[in-house]
């Protein structure tokens, strides 16, 4: 009996466990990931590419895509700079309350996006804590593109920081000391020594932030007002068109967003070596 089992598992050097486990893995992912994703493409292109293209080129759809890209761009720009600065301060200096700050920066990932949007409304909205003082002066922050950027910043706040900080922490302190003894100023050291080592982290942090911001829905729908052609981002457009029963219109944008995130994560995955080493 005991002599049969090994021969079953290893048929002349062939490990049965290998194809078996790979097969199970793919089978499990099929209904969970592959099929939902492919149904977007199957459904969206079922009436031909022409109708897909027409749905995509609708003025509201183009506007929604553009708005998503622009607001995500500014949120990313801000968060990368902020993340870099925060990582620099928090890994270079040790001070009272340092850990509290690190936790606070990381907090927005744990907060439901609807709560984030709601919180922004309570602060900046016409009746909000700050907004009520701004409203009489005609300053309206909510229900604008600016509000979308604010929401994006909030929900993607820790992403770039989270990627950059560990690289900062593991970076040898003696590099900066070496640069100083060679005669470099702090600025020169940062520019020539520190920044090049962070390049990979900055790029991946930015891509992550951007991908996350483009797809943001929960907080955006609360603070933007979801006004078509004015404050409607791509995910909101999908939601609105779906509610109106215009499945093709929603589907065209869905395909674009899916391809977009697929592209970003391919870059992150396959350019890993380039991002890390040189």
């Amino acid at each position: 009996m005991s002599s049969i089992i090994p021969t079953m598992r290893h048929v002349r050097g062939f490990d049965v466990a290998r194809p078996l486990s790979i097969g199970v893995l793919v089978l499990m992912m099929l209904p969970l990931v592959f099929l939902p994703l492919s149904s977007i493409f199957i459904f969206g292109t079922s009436k031909g590419l022409a109708s897909f293209w027409a749905a995509l080129m609708a003025p509201e759809a183009v506007f929604a895509l553009k708005l998503s890209m622009v607001t995500s761009f500014w949120a990313t720009l801000f968060n990368v700079f902020f993340g870099l600065f925060a990582a620099y301060v928090l890994s270079k200096y040790n001070f009272w309350g340092r850990n509290a700050l690190i936790v606070t920066i990381s907090l927005p990932t744990a907060i439901p996006t609807a709560v984030a949007g709601f919180a922004l409304l309570l602060l900046w909205g016409p009746y909000g804590i700050l907004g009520r003082f701004l409203a009489p002066h005609g300053i309206q922050t909510m229900f604008t593109a600016g509000a979308i950027i604010l929401a994006n910043i909030f929900v993607t706040f820790p992403l770039a920081f989270g990627v950059i900080k560990p690289v900062f922490d593991t970076m040898s302190r003696s590099l900066e000391a070496a640069s100083a003894t060679i005669g470099a100023t702090r600025v020169q050291t940062f520019w020539h020594v520190t920044l090049p080592s962070l390049r990979g982290a900055i790029v991946s942090g930015a891509l992550l932030t951007f991908a996350r911001a483009v797809g943001e829905f929960g907080s955006t729908i609360l603070v933007s007002g979801n006004l078509a052609g004015r404050t409607q981002t791509a995910p909101l457009y999908i939601f609105a068109k779906f509610n109106e029963g215009q499945i093709e219109a929603a589907n065209a944008i869905a395909i674009v967003l899916a391809l977009f995130s697929f592209l970003i994560f391919s870059v992150l995955f396959f350019a890993r070596d380039w991002l890390d080493v040189d």
């Binding site: 003696s174 070496a178 100083a180 003894t181 005669g183 470099a184 020594v193 090049p196 080592s197």
Partner: protein
């Protein structure tokens, strides 16, 4: 003369200050340093002459790295001054001092290739591109890394990285080179090889250098002078020969090289070590009659004999039992338990071992106990009887009547001459 120098009293070493011929490149005056309430350095003084190599030798935690960091400007002293070529730089930040630091982990810039690492110091000094290129070329030739010029630090071996690190500091003509345990991360073979290379290189470029190490072999080989550091102060500064042969303190004697310590008492112009009496002639006035001293001698100065024939110029100290022998390559290390209470030991004819000492009247430089590899006989005895017999067969147990009060444990090694 030499016998006296093996005598250790509690008095600290006088720093040798009468070294005036070459101009002083680096001077450290009265440096002390505290971290919080812990004092890590106390009143450290030394000079490094132009083109000289000084090694700071000490155990880990002795404060040697802190001295280096203070000279480099990476750390501020609590008191004292750092003077580089006559200029007080104590208040200057690291980048304005122009010192070259070679870090233990090299600290090469990982995103720059060899050329750009070496050229970095000139680049940030905004030198012309042509000048940078020429200097880099010269330095690449100097450290023999021409064919690796385009490689990144991660593609180089430890020794190559170290050479890049040195070239990188030489590029901007540093006032002094500071090596922070530069060979710590290398394997034994590369270490010895690179050590000699760097020594030759330093002589070529004639830049004063300060090395930090805890490796005595490294210190002896690299240093024009050695400063032995113990818990934040300098125990002794001197040439390797001086420090090894005339250690100023017990710490120096035991830290640098193996040393035997025996407690003794001064009796006129003699030292009593247990029952043994050793004569010493010179400088007897430095010691009081009855003063307790510690006798320090090197293992290679010990002679073992089993026949009772004391070599010329030697005097017998005590009987002993070989407790352990270990083969360490070039010589054999022998642990001998000696009996200092047995007054008649040296007169007995059938005793297999004598420890003998050179008397001060004789010519030679070695102070207390000299070498005579008579123990060969014993080993032959041991081997001849049976290969499988344990090494304890070399011992002669009847020598010591009461083994537990048999005096000090001697750590002896000797050369097997011609065997």
């Amino acid at each position: 003369m030499k016998a006296k120098q093996a005598m250790i009293t509690e008095q600290p070493a006088m720093p040798d200050s009468n070294r005036s011929s070459p101009p002083v490149a680096t001077r450290v005056i009265g440096i002390s340093k505290r971290f919080g309430k812990t004092s890590v350095l106390e009143n450290v003084n030394f000079d490094v002459a132009e083109g000289e190599t000084l090694v700071l030798l000490g155990a880990s935690g002795s404060g040697k790295t802190t001295i280096l960091r203070i000279i480099a400007g990476l750390e501020q002293p609590y008191t004292g001054k750092v003077i580089l070529h006559g200029k007080d730089v104590t208040e200057l930040p690291a980048r304005e001092r122009g010192v070259g630091v070679i870090f233990q982990a090299y600290a090469l810039f990982p995103k720059m290739n060899v050329e750009r690492n070496i050229g970095y110091g000139l680049k940030i000094r905004r030198r012309k591109r042509k000048e940078v290129r020429e200097t880099v070329q010269q330095l690449l030739e100097l450290v023999q890394l021409q064919e690796h010029r385009k490689k990144y630090p991660s593609q180089l071996s430890g020794g190559q990285q170290q050479r890049v690190a040195i070239a990188r500091t030489l590029a901007y003509k540093p006032e002094v080179l500071l090596f922070d345990e530069p060979f710590g991360a290398l394997d034994a073979q590369t270490r010895v090889h690179l050590r000699r290379e760097i020594k030759a290189l330093l002589k070529k470029v004639n830049v004063p250098a300060i090395f930090i190490t805890h490796d005595q072999e490294e210190a002896l080989e690299l240093g024009d002078r050695i400063a032995v550091i113990n818990v934040g102060h300098i125990e002794q500064i001197g040439t390797p020969y001086e420090v090894y042969n005339n250690p100023a303190t017990e710490y120096v004697a035991t830290f640098l090289g193996a040393a035997n310590l025996l407690p003794g008492v001064i009796r006129g112009d003699r030292i009593e070590v247990g029952s043994a009496v050793i004569r010493f002639s010179a400088d007897a006035h430095k010691f009081r009659d009855g003063q307790a001293v510690t006798l320090v001698f090197r293992p290679e100065d010990v002679s073992l004999t089993s026949s009772g024939d004391v070599p010329a110029g030697h005097s017998c100290i005590a009987n002993g039992i070989v407790e352990e022998k270990s083969f360490v390559g070039a010589y054999e290390r022998v642990n001998v338990r000696i009996d200092l209470s047995d007054s008649g030991a040296c007169e007995t004819d059938d005793t297999p071992f004598y420890l003998t000492t050179e008397t001060p009247e004789s010519h030679s430089s070695k102070p207390i106990i000299a070498t005579r590899p008579k123990a060969q006989e014993i080993c032959r005895l041991g081997r001849g009887q049976s290969e499988a017999r344990p090494r304890s067969s070399c011992t002669v147990p009847q020598l010591c009547h009461a083994p537990h009060n048999c005096g000090s444990n001697l750590n002896l090694s000797f050369k097997l001459a011609g065997a």
